[in-house]
């Protein structure tokens, strides 16, 4: 049996042995961060911290997990850092933890994440820290949004915090991008001060951590002496780490081995190289001797002249790939700039691909190839662009196998300023069959014709050419597709970059929204442009005298379009926090998440209301004269009500979704209670100016049954002989009659059973009966 040997444990402390055995080994590699499976579960944490509401996991590192939690008593959200149970079990840890924790809790600086509390609960050693809503530097760098200027702005703020801590006698010991946070207002916050010390004060413990892989992961940021003689570390180790972070921010690389000077990679001056190289000296006596010295040097470098040549605009480069795929391609792939690894231009390759080089089913970009390609140079079955080739091409220079439309068009069927092809139609047309201002070919027709056969009539031309000539206004209008497509090509990359940043911020998918949301812009921009064209068309065909009649509807349509354009980016969460554009209600600016959530709600409501306002505007163009005054007032009211309804709905939503708490449940019937009033207003508007239902009490008109119900339109969509209309009789009642003829100033009508025709001016005409939706004769009598 085991107790036969004198001491089976070889004199070692059993508790320590077990603690050592409990270190994670999974995977067998030397550097294993805590696996997700090793993490204490939310339930476990919730059980260990009954005073906190655990809201979710923020992240986990080698030795700890950080949770977002709420302190209900103080009603504040905090970050809960939990150290593994095995650590709390190591001897001497408790005193060390207490001693260091007190020092950290005293460390109060605007750029240092405050430690509110610490202790041990349910076997876990924990720290309660201020919760910073933002991203860490690592995530920010991954999103690729640092210019050297930005790096030069951020570093001094880090220096201030470090200098403050150093004067308090606290070393950070673990400066790395993961520990430098950028909050939602872009301020720098340094986290995990001295945590490294809590974890490994003594050499033996350092060993324990090294063995567990906790420190090896951050080794690139550690000063040489920190690795070799951890006990001798002083504040200059933090300077070294800061140098590494600075180098990484500038170059995107780690200063390993024989590393390049920052100015070789990034657009910075040579004096930056000097600062970085000095901070990264192996011998600490040769580094900057204080953080403030480092800061002064970095600030001095701001004004540095002689910027090195930029090797590609790598800071703007980014890549977004949606997780959803279609036919094996990412649904959306957006790229911009060069790949920092290869220096080559990135290529977008997705179902919808956007980029300088784009390939996909729908490709948009500088050079686009795809089933539908749109861009500077577009190649596709349907291509659209400055220079486009394909089966059907539309663009400045269009070359197509089948149909080419454009400034210069070459194709079997070609149409454009200069058209060349088998059948050509345009300003200058060259083809076997040509039709145009100048037409040259076998069979020609037009102004100046140089052709073997001069065709006199369109009907003698082949049907395809006839079709082209007839539809030429529409085909030309196709060129105007540039507008929505151009809008799309601007909006999507903008959105993709935003999305990238949001996703980097650790926001859950639900908050970030689904990536397919952006495709709303396609119908939306099309609708927008269609509406614009329609308005322009209305104006261009307006009767000179009737100009006044279309101003009010145009203004209303314009308001609708304005709402529409303003609402869409808000709804799609494209607008970052700013004081100008977006909802400014109490607490909207509290955090990035809140901002996007509230603005999305407002944007959604305003978007739908804007459609109704536009509809009201369109109805205005078709009003009969009698309504115009009333219409103007009603439409303006409706516009204001729409805006108010969107605001009220947003406020209601905000009340139901308080920050940092679970949304309040509302009964299904009460959920949209705030919309009742606006909807009533809308119904009145529709009833007065669009259409309403009538009951016809007597069936004097032929074809009208007694007591039948009719739907009537109030819009002037044209009248024809035989139409059943309602008009205002002298008595003030509404009477029915049938149209005999349409005259300039009104309608000539005739009533059933009365042989006399009479004239009714426009302003007495109420509307046209469209159809009967209920007729008593259809109901069987009992």
């Amino acid at each position: 049996m085991n107790d036969s040997s004198p001491d089976p444990l070889h004199g070692l402390n059993p508790a320590d042995l077990m603690a050592a055995a409990a270190m994670p080994t999974d995977g067998g590699a030397d550097t294993i961060p805590l696996q997700r499976a090793d993490l204490p579960s939310l339930e476990e944490i919730a059980a260990a911290f009954p005073d906190l509401e655990i809201l979710g996991l923020i992240g986990h590192g080698g030795m700890s997990a950080v949770f977002r939690a709420r302190q209900p008593k103080l009603d504040r959200v905090v970050a809960l850092k939990v150290l593994p149970k095995s650590l709390a079990a190591t001897p001497g840890f408790a005193e060390r933890f207490n001693r260091e924790g007190r020092v950290l809790a005293r460390l109060s600086h605007p750029s240092i994440v405050a430690v509110h509390d610490f202790g041990e609960s349910g076997g876990f050693a924990y720290l309660i820290m201020e919760f910073v809503d933002g991203v860490n530097l690592r995530q920010a760098m991954r999103a690729g949004r640092f210019t050297p200027e930005q790096a030069l702005r951020i570093i001094p703020a880090i220096c201030d915090a470090l200098q403050f801590a150093h004067t308090q006698g606290v070393l950070h010991r673990d400066i790395k991008p993961e520990n430098i946070l950028l909050d939602s207002k872009g301020r720098v916050r340094i986290a995990d001060f001295g945590i490294a010390k809590i974890l490994d004060e003594k050499g033996g413990d350092a060993m324990l951590l090294t063995q567990s892989g906790a420190k090896l992961g951050t080794a690139p940021y550690m000063a040489p002496e920190q690795i070799e003689q951890p006990s001798s570390v002083d504040h200059r180790a933090d300077i070294y780490s800061l140098g590494v972070v600075f180098y990484e921010m500038l170059t995107g690389e780690l200063p390993l081995g024989r590393f390049a000077a920052p100015s070789e990679i990034a657009a910075v001056g040579g004096n930056i190289d000097e600062i970085v190289f000095r901070a990264l000296e192996k011998e600490r006596t040769r580094r900057q001797q204080s953080v403030s010295e480092f800061k002064t040097q970095v600030e001095g470098a701001h004004a540095a002249p002689g910027r090195a040549a930029v090797r590609g605009n790598r800071w703007d480069a980014f890549e977004y790939k949606s997780r959803r795929t279609l036919w094996g391609l990412p649904l959306l792939h957006v790229v911009h700039g060069r790949d920092p690894a290869t220096g080559k231009r990135r290529q977008a390759h997705g179902f919808f691909a956007f980029g300088d080089l784009a390939k996909g089913v729908f490709a948009f970009g500088g050079i686009a190839r795809g089933f539908f390609a749109c861009g500077g140079l577009a190649v596709g079955v349907v291509s659209f662009g400055g220079l486009s080739t394909g089966l059907i091409s539309i663009g400045g220079l269009a070359v197509a196998l089948l149909l080419a439309v454009g400034g210069v068009a070459v194709g079997a069927l070609a149409m454009g300023g200069v058209a060349m092809g088998w059948m050509a139609c345009g300003g200058v047309a060259v083809g076997v069959y040509a039709h145009g201002g100048v037409a040259a070919g076998n069979h020609g027709m037009g102004g100046v014709v140089g052709a073997g056969t001069v065709v006199k009539s369109i009907s003698e031309l082949p049907p395809a050419l006839q079709w082209m000539i007839r539809s030429s206004p529409y085909l030309t209008a196709l060129n105007l597709l540039w507008l929505p497509l151009g809008l799309l090509m601007t909006l999507v990359p903008w959105w993709a970059r935003r999305q990238l940043q949001v996703e980097c911020g650790g926001t859950t998918r639900e908050q970030a929204g689904s990536s397919s949301r952006i495709f709303w812009t396609i119908p939306a921009t099309t609708l927008f442009c269609g509406m614009l064209f329609w308005l322009v068309g209305k104006w261009s065909t307006a009767v000179p005298g009737g100009m006044a009649n279309i101003i009010i509807p145009t203004v209303i349509c314009g308001m609708g379009l304005l709402f529409f354009v303003l609402a869409l980016p808000l709804w799609l969460r494209l607008v970052p926090i700013n004081p100008v554009y977006g909802v400014r209600l109490p607490s909207t600016m509290a955090s990035e998440t809140r901002w996007f959530a509230v603005n999305a709600v407002f944007g959604k409501h305003l978007f739908w209301w804007s459609l109704l306002v536009m509809g009201a505007g369109v109805a205005g163009f078709y009003q009969l004269p009698r309504h115009l005054d009333a219409y103007a007032w009603a439409a303006i009211t409706l516009t204001l009500v729409a805006l108010a309804a969107a605001v009220v709905s947003t406020v209601v939503w905000m009340r139901r979704h308080p920050m940092g708490a679970t949304p309040r449940k509302t009964h299904r019937l009460l959920r949209n209670l705030e919309l009742v009033l606006p909807v009533v207003v809308l119904m009145f508007f529709v009833r007065s100016f669009v259409g309403r239902a009538y009951v016809v009490p007597n069936g004097a008109e032929p074809g009208v049954t007694k007591n039948s119900r009719w739907l009537a339109s109030h819009l002037n969509t044209g009248f024809a002989a035989g139409d059943l209309i309602a008009y205002e009789h002298e008595s003030g009642q509404t009477w029915l009659a049938r149209v005999v003829t349409v005259e300039l100033k009104g309608l000539r009508l005739k009533r059933g059973g009365n042989p006399d025709e009479f004239f009714m001016p426009w302003d007495k005409v109420i509307g046209k009966m469209l159809f009967s939706y209920l007729s008593p004769s259809a109901i069987p009598k009992p």
């Binding site: 089976p8 508790a15 077990m18 270190m23 003594k202």
Partner: protein, 234 residues
Amino acid sequence: MTSSFHDTRWTLVSRSRGSDTQAKAALSELCEAYYAPVVAFLKRDGREEDVARELAHDFFAKLLAGGAIEGADPVRGRFRSYLLSALKRFAADQRDKTNAAKRGGGQIHADVAEGAEIADLSAEAPDTAFDRQWALTVLARALALLEAELRESGKGHHFETLKPWLTADADATPQSEAAAKLGLSEDAVKVAIHRLRKRFRDAVKAEIAQTVSDLGNVREELDALMAALRGQPC
């Protein structure tokens, strides 16, 4: 359990409910390994050392003979819990029997022994003693395995020299000394320590794995054993 897992001894036992020969062999191995906790339990339950040993022997004999230990269901859970519950029942039965046999004052020596034990050791429940001894046994077995392995590969002195670094608080000896003793560079010593620790962790976990039915429970069991060693309820 799916076939992709290695069968542990305890799964062999629990699946067959100890009825086939393979399972019996496995159970006997397990029992042999965890003899010490049983003795510890019985001692703390108020028995003299030799009585406890004798009883432990009887207990295992009964267990291995497939004798019904009622209420202890080997199908699920950990071997430790199973053994403990079986042991508790056994001990209770045993006491009833002894009491019945010695009705009339025979229990005096047990009372004396109990009093002596309590005075000797801080009042530790038999369960706790059992768990604590169990944890020690696990560690001891892991260490023994580690030592045997190293000896086999001719590195016995490595184990002797480097074992202080197995625990967290062992910076008493600087590594340079160990390096000199082993004739290695300091770096090599670091690597060797790292390997030793990793091997040790693996050995402990493997040892624990033998006593649980689901490999996912190793971690849980490890935590429980750690709590037992720190004198906390698990």
